[in-house]
């Protein structure tokens, strides 16, 4: 059973990435060129749906929430900066590389996956030389924004969802994206 649950969740995850067009180079690079905002729409929708469901279920006492990932300001930001370089170059991230491999994209399966594994090996081997020190810079621990601002988590969720809804409204109404010069 403990194998079936992650397999099933993975299938849904991979299917969402495929159907959403996240396994296509043009859509990933499009968001960095402001010519195609698929990634923004997909990610923020997922975050809004998941946060609403989780905080509602938690508020009803039906589930407990997992610990949020740790915040160490410099490392999170620096990691994101490094990550973005690779993502703009390759046109995938680890999740979309896995789903795209399943679609039969051999550049994902035979160069992407080995690249990810090589990156993981390099990171693991150099980890002791810098990571423990980096993690200590502005380390806030496993905190969420509601705790940080001393606000009700429900209020933060509602504000976030409204803000995203307003952003989507602006994007769709004003067609806030650039025309692709290559079309």
């Amino acid at each position: 059973m403990h194998i079936l649950i992650p397999l099933f969740l993975g299938v849904l995850f991979g299917a969402a990435l495929n159907k959403g067009g996240l396994t296509q180079y043009k859509n990933i690079v499009g968001v960095f060129r402001f010519t195609n905002l698929t990634v923004i729409k997909f990610m923020l929708t997922a975050v809004c749906v998941a946060m609403t469901g989780l905080f509602a279920l938690n508020g009803l006492g039906l589930i407990s929430l997992p610990q949020p990932p740790a915040t160490y300001v410099l490392g999170n930001l620096l990691g994101g900066l490094v990550f973005g370089v690779g993502m703009a170059l390759a046109g995938y991230c680890p999740g979309t590389c896995a789903a795209g491999s399943g679609e039969g994209k051999l550049d994902y399966l035979l160069t992407g996956i080995p690249g990810l594994l090589a990156g993981a090996v390099i990171f693991g081997l150099v980890w002791p030389s810098f990571f423990p020190a980096l993690r200590e810079v502005a380390n806030l621990g496993q905190v969420n924004l509601a705790q940080l601002w001393d606000a009700s988590p429900f209020l933060v969720v509602i504000a976030f969802v409204l803000l995203v809804a307003f952003l989507f409204y602006l994007l769709e109404r004003n067609r806030l994206y650039r025309k692709d010069k290559l079309d």
């Binding site: 159907k19 968001v31 589930i63 990932p69 550049d107 160069t111 690249g115 002791p128």
Partner: protein
């Protein structure tokens, strides 16, 4: 039922619809297993498992390998499931096909030589996984799974990712940006 299948078998959905599916999957992961989705953590675990088996002396005394679980973990099954999901989803729309350089945009920028795509894909993947290691997760494990739990780290990561992604795309595309 027929209408549902018509929808499922479409080659692409609106990103909003696909985003709802991912959001529901994230909720299900917490409800069913009290875990969050991830993709860079499974990669790190596969690499650690391989390294432990192939070259145990290389990681001796490295505390990183006490943190990262090894073996056939929950995350590794999730990763296999993600590949399977891409496969089944492509089958449903009859778009599964083995191909080397599938994207129509790439050759317009870099030319038709496939080795350029493979090199950029390989080097890009190394950088991606290294960045995910520093940040503590990737787009799924940190940006989405952390964002839904209101983690500040998720939003810091997204800010960094978009800032450098935009810059690199600008450098690569130059006049065609």
């Amino acid at each position: 039922m027929k209408q549902l299948w018509t929808f499922i078998s479409k080659e692409s959905w609106s990103p909003y619809a696909a985003g709802v599916l991912l959001g529901l999957t994230c909720i299900l992961a917490v409800v069913l297993a009290n875990r969050t989705l991830s993709a860079s953590l499974p990669v790190a675990e596969i690499a650690a498992t391989g390294l432990k088996a192939a070259a145990p002396q290389a990681i001796e005394g490295n505390p990183y390998y006490f943190i990262i679980p090894t073996g056939l973990t929950w995350e590794i099954w999730l990763f296999i499931g993600t590949m399977l999901g891409g496969f089944l989803s492509a089958l449903s729309s009859k778009t599964f096909k083995l191909r080397w350089n599938p994207d129509p945009l790439w050759p317009k920028i870099f030319g038709p030589q496939p080795w350029k795509r493979w090199l950029a894909g390989f080097v890009g993947a190394i950088i991606v996984q290294f960045g995910a290691g520093i940040a503590g997760g990737c787009t799924s494990g940190l940006a989405v799974s952390g964002g839904m739990l209101l983690a500040p780290s998720a939003f810091l990561f997204m800010a960094g990712m978009f800032a450098s992604g935009i810059l690199v795309a600008f450098i690569i595309y130059r006049g065609r940006y």
